[in-house]
């Protein structure tokens, strides 16, 4: 039986629902020794900012039980460098490249969106979990009004599909998701990392150079899954689910909860071929369960899912 694996994420057409999570996959090229990029649903590129960013002082990583704390601090060469030097190299691949963007102000997000609305970029993922200088150190992603503002501005500056990437560090993820939908987001991706930290009991100091970091990996899967489940009950636009996926079974849990596509982050570090194995595993499950179209699985475990 041939399984239909293609999915449409708010206008972004993917050959299968398996993406890579931003910040864990470079621009994709780092994985060329291990996998065929052309077989991926898509690559979400490392987060870009308007100006080059040096990132946080090391140490930037520390393992925790079944998890990884990172504080990279969005190190990146800036959007212009990306467009001039990296993007041209990506056009030789058939896979879709989605660019993840972070700004200090809504206006910056607008400029980024405009600059990146060029051939080779398939969609924009708007990272609203970064510091908002204007609102005094708060975070965009935790305030529905700011989320709406950022998404509106981005939508006003691009014709590409716009994916709002939500922070899990909130009381009410449904409220944030609805704000993004109402502001015109074409899809929602979640979750970004959970804020965490580790302390070195010898030096009696935080382990990470940045003190706090973002927690990812299998440890956070139950939380990510619950949030996808909740958001699927709150919005009609498609959802890209992520957080701790390392196997086809994990991916299926997200799809059954209501995700139309999934992304793998930390899992790539442990097993750089994990995306290929998940694609194969999803296809196998569909075959075994006589599912003709993988989209038929979306939200099956979630009776209250919208649509």
């Amino acid at each position: 039986m041939k399984v239909k694996m293609e999915v449409d994420i708010g206008g972004l057409k993917l050959q299968n629902p398996v993406l890579t999570a931003s910040g864990t996959f470079g621009s994709g090229q780092e994985y060329l020794p291990f996998i065929d990029l052309n077989r991926l649903g898509g690559v979400v590129v490392k987060g870009l900012t308007l100006l080059p960013k040096a990132g946080n002082p090391p140490p930037r990583l520390i393992e925790t039980p079944s998890g990884l704390l990172n504080a990279i601090g969005l190190q990146n060469p800036g959007v212009d460098y990306f467009i001039e030097n990296i993007l041209p190299e990506l056009t030789s691949y058939q896979t879709k490249f989605i660019v993840n963007i972070s700004g200090n102000t809504p206006e910056e997000y607008g400029v980024l969106a405009q600059k990146l609305s060029v051939p080779g970029v398939a969609a924009l993922e708007v990272n609203i979990s970064c510091p908002n200088v204007k609102a005094g150190g708060l975070v965009f992603g935790t305030d529905p009004d700011l989320v709406a503002e950022v998404i509106s501005v981005v939508k006003g500056h691009t014709n590409l599909p716009v994916i709002a990437k939500l922070s899990p560090n909130v009381t009410d993820i449904q409220e944030i998701a609805r704000a993004a939908e109402e502001a015109g987001a074409d899809a929602i991706s979640l979750i970004n990392t959970l804020l965490g930290m580790a302390i070195d009991v010898e030096t009696r100091k935080p382990v990470l150079g940045n003190i706090v970091g973002g927690l990812s990996g299998p440890a956070i899967k139950p939380i990510a899954l619950r949030m996808v489940w909740q958001v699927a009950q709150a919005v009609k636009i498609p959802i890209i689910g992520m957080g701790g996926i390392v196997s086809a079974q994990d991916a299926l849990e997200f799809i059954l909860a209501g995700a139309n596509a999934i992304a793998i982050g930390t899992g790539n570090f442990i097993n750089p071929r994990v995306t290929m194995e998940v694609i194969a595993g999803l296809e196998e499950y569909c075959q075994k369960t006589k599912t003709e179209d993988i989209s038929h699985l979306v939200g099956l475990a979630n009776p209250l899912k919208m649509r």
Binding site: G23, T24, F25, G26, E30, Y31, P33, F34, K46, A54, G55, P57, P58, P59, R60, L61, I62, E63, P65, S66, G67, L68, N70, I72, Q75, G217, P218, T266, N268, F269, I270, N271, P272, R273
Partner: protein, 262 residues
């Protein structure tokens, strides 16, 4: 080109307390590897530890398709690595990183502290192969914690130091290093060991006007340049920048490295 492959364990033994020697059949890695490169090893099939762990290539036998690792038990990863048995397979990614670069006609002095001796052995082998003279200064804590000395002695001149003087010279590697450099026989230093040692060795290299390549360590997630987690600070034309230890290094020219304070 780096790759993900299974390496079969051929030998695995404890050399001294908590220090293990692991020989693997991994022809594709052996074929391509150069001294100073490393592999990312999946030490356990659970999430504990979650990440692979980086280890320097300690031997690169291209003929027999073998590599070896020398490692010390530190935490979860190395602890679970000790449980691997002969004939088991280990999931490896490698060869990774930029290794030592060998200028033509180098007269090298190799400086290793503790586990830092690991990547120096294939370098010594390569130097010998190319008919280039070298000396090695290997520093340990005490005679009970000396290992792999003979492997080095087979290849060339070795000076041993121990902190307590229980073998060789008493003290740090920096003492014999300064003495040897005084002889003006050497034009390059290759060093690997604790950061404090590397910092001192670099300062000595600078004072003697000798080139120095240091192999650095960092906590790594991917090991192949994708996560930006393993950075160290280096000097670039444009100012200080963060370089990836896993791909820009682990071997850096010591003059590029910005060392930690204190």
């Amino acid at each position: 080109m780096k790759l993900q492959t299974l390496g079969q364990v051929i030998r695995h033994e404890e050399l001294s307390s908590k220090v293990y020697y692991l020989v693997l059949k991994a022809p594709q890695i052996a074929k391509q590897a150069t001294p100073g490169q490393f592999v990312q090893v999946k030490c356990s099939d659970t999430y504990q530890p979650l990440l692979r762990k980086p280890f320097s290539l300690h031997e690169i036998d291209k003929v027999d398709g073998r590599i070896s690792l020398l490692y010390e038990v530190k935490g979860q990863g190395t602890k679970s690595l000790t449980k691997v048995r002969v004939d088991d397979y280990l999931d490896l990614i490698g060869p990774l990183g930029s290794g030592f670069s060998l200028p033509p006609r180098c007269r090298a002095i190799l400086v290793g502290g503790g586990m830092g001796i690991a990547p120096l052995l294939p370098l010594a082998e390569k130097l010998k192969e190319q008919g280039q003279e070298f000396a090695a200064i290997l520093g340990f804590n005490e005679v009970q914690k000396v290992y792999r000395l003979e492997a080095f002695q087979k290849l060339g001149q070795v000076i041993v130091t121990t902190l307590d003087g229980s073998l060789g010279e008493k003290g740090l590697v920096t003492q014999p290093l300064e003495r040897e450099l005084g002889s003006e026989k050497y034009n390059i230093i290759y060093a690997c060991g604790p950061e404090a040692m590397l910092k001192n060795v670099s300062a000595i290299a600078d004072s003697f006007g000798v080139e120095c390549q240091v192999s650095l360590e960092a906590y790594m997630a991917c090991g192949f340049g994708a996560c930006l987690g393993c950075v160290c600070q280096t000097k670039e034309l444009t100012g200080p920048t963060y370089s990836r230890v896993c791909t820009d290094g682990p071997v850096f020219n010591s003059r590029e490295v910005i060392w930690h304070e204190g």
